[in-house]
């Protein structure tokens, strides 16, 4: 099976674009990724498009209607917050299978403001606030409190994660926000679901990101100077755990996908130079230090207290600003984090550059549950 390379990758600056359409926002990133690869839409053999909000509305084909209707096969995918990573992985798999040499993956989302989750079904009466809360800030607060129960993790430690990611985003011009948020500001922000304050919740924004994936043969033809090798593409769903059907388990499926990814790449967590992981809430990031093996179980609090996950630390996490400050356009997130890692591996990340980055990891979780992990490596 051929190795797979990212030849072009880019994202738009995340923001709010109520006057634009979903395909229009997606088309912009698609063109940027094509330009980055030095290729045109006519060179693409297939398109894998990730979008959640219009999952039944042929977003991929509508993107091609804006930038070039070549007749190529288009697959539209939806997989909650793992949607973008799933589109990328489907593209990766098509090259692995030997079907194609050059394919395009696009992730795009247009979001409303406000709470996600908790709407429930139309039967009977609304259950929100009656049988607990299904809102995302609450669901991830409950997951964080499970960690607090086990290891004594504090509100302040969770809050520090948000301080870190907001600080990182001041160096990322493509992030939604470039604003420092000191610890007292994070802790005193409006409480949404304890222990997640408003500044500890990801930002609902519009955005898109895209990548051109190629086979080894094609990569050599095009030149490897800025190519990034995909060392692993792993995906897992939630395995049975005792409480999973009541309290979605984001830990077990991340551990399953991480194990697979490390095995595919033939490396361990100690070889990873930077990580973009799914900080949909500050509480979630804490769990994934351990789930991804960046530290031992119970040591996540220390990772943030001792600065190991900051830019300049042992393994910088979410140097882009993460979902907390860069923003979280659901379907775009899984490709935007691949853009971030590739930018560091290419040495093009400017002020936030992780020095000497050779291998990076991306991670997303879609509740319900899907986990997607990619390991990427600098080629030259």
């Amino acid at each position: 099976m051929s190795d797979v390379y990212v030849m072009g990758v880019d994202m738009i600056k995340f923001g709010r674009f109520p006057d634009r359409s979903v395909p229009n926002i997606g088309a912009e990133a698609a063109l940027m990724a094509l330009d980055d690869a030095g290729l045109g839409i006519q060179d693409m053999q297939a398109l894998y498009c990730g979008n959640l909000g219009q999952a039944n509305a042929m977003v991929g084909q509508r993107i091609l209607q804006e930038i070039g209707q070549t007749g190529m096969p288009v697959v539209n995918v939806a997989n909650a917050c793992a949607t973008g990573a799933t589109a990328f992985r489907e593209a990766w798999m098509s090259i692995k299978a030997g079907m194609y040499d050059v394919v395009l993956a696009v992730g795009v989302e247009q979001m409303g403001k406000g709470l996600l989750g908790g709407a429930g079904s139309g039967d009977g009466i609304p259950k929100e606030g009656l049988l607990g809360s299904g809102t995302m800030p609450c669901v991830f607060a409950e997951a964080g409190m499970e960690h607090a129960k086990e290891y004594g993790t504090t509100f302040e430690q969770f809050a520090k994660i948000s301080v870190k990611n907001h600080h990182h985003s001041t160096m990322n011009p493509k992030a939604m926000y470039q604003i420092e948020t000191p610890l007292d500001e994070v802790m005193n922000a409006e409480m949404i679901s304890y222990p997640n304050t408003k500044l500890m919740c990801s930002v609902n924004v519009d955005g898109s990101a895209a990548a051109v994936l190629v086979s080894e043969k094609k990569a050599k033809e095009l030149g490897l100077s800025r190519a990034v090798k995909v060392r692993a593409s792993a995906m897992a769903s939630d395995p049975y755990t005792d409480r999973d059907l009541v309290m979605p388990d984001v830990n077990a499926c991340t551990r399953l996908a991480a194990k697979d990814a490390y095995e595919q790449a033939g490396i361990g967590p100690e070889d990873i130079n930077l990580v973009e992981l799914h900080d949909c809430f500050a509480t979630a990031e804490m769990l994934h230090y351990e789930n991804l093996g960046l530290c031992k179980d119970g040591e996540a609090g220390r990772m943030i207290d001792e600065g190991h996950v900051e830019l300049g630390g042992k393994v910088p996490v979410n140097v882009s600003g993460g979902l907390l400050s860069k923003g979280h356009p659901l379907g775009a997130t899984g490709i935007a984090n691949i853009y971030e890692i590739c930018t560091h591996l290419r040495g093009e990340a400017g002020k936030r550059q992780v020095d000497g980055a050779k291998i990076g990891m991306t991670h997303v979780i879609g509740l319900g549950t899907a986990c997607g992990i990619h390991i990427l490596e600098k080629v030259s």
């Binding site: 009656l130 049988l131 607990g132 409190m145 409480r243 009541v246 309290m247």
Partner: protein, 138 residues
Amino acid sequence: MSQSKPLPVVDYLKIPEDGDPYLEGYRCKKCGATFLGQRNVCSKCFARDEMEVIKLSDKGTLHSYAVVYRSFPGIDVPYVSAIVDLEGGGTIKGNLINIEPDPDKIEFNMPVKVIFDDALGRKDKDGNSYLSYFFEPI
């Protein structure tokens, strides 16, 4: 037409003609996994047609929780969204009531009781009232 008797808020809340309301579970006879709501196949051990209907305990312990301050319009906040492990198996989620919604007052693993009461006055479009379950500290 609205009914005089309240309806169950979820299908696993049972209201017998004579006797007290209770929560119903499905337990796999092969592996012991406990589920809420009817099912024929065990998602833990994959056994088919090995499910038995059981009455879930009305006692349990607090596994995890969050204090919800922001919810949808019209919903009273703050309240405690709680995950409770029931004695003898099964985990359920609901509101923990009759306790201050303050993390300093709430203890992990604290014993709680499942109680049944009107669903906070909520009615469906036909005017039916509902019986719900809640947790309270023992």
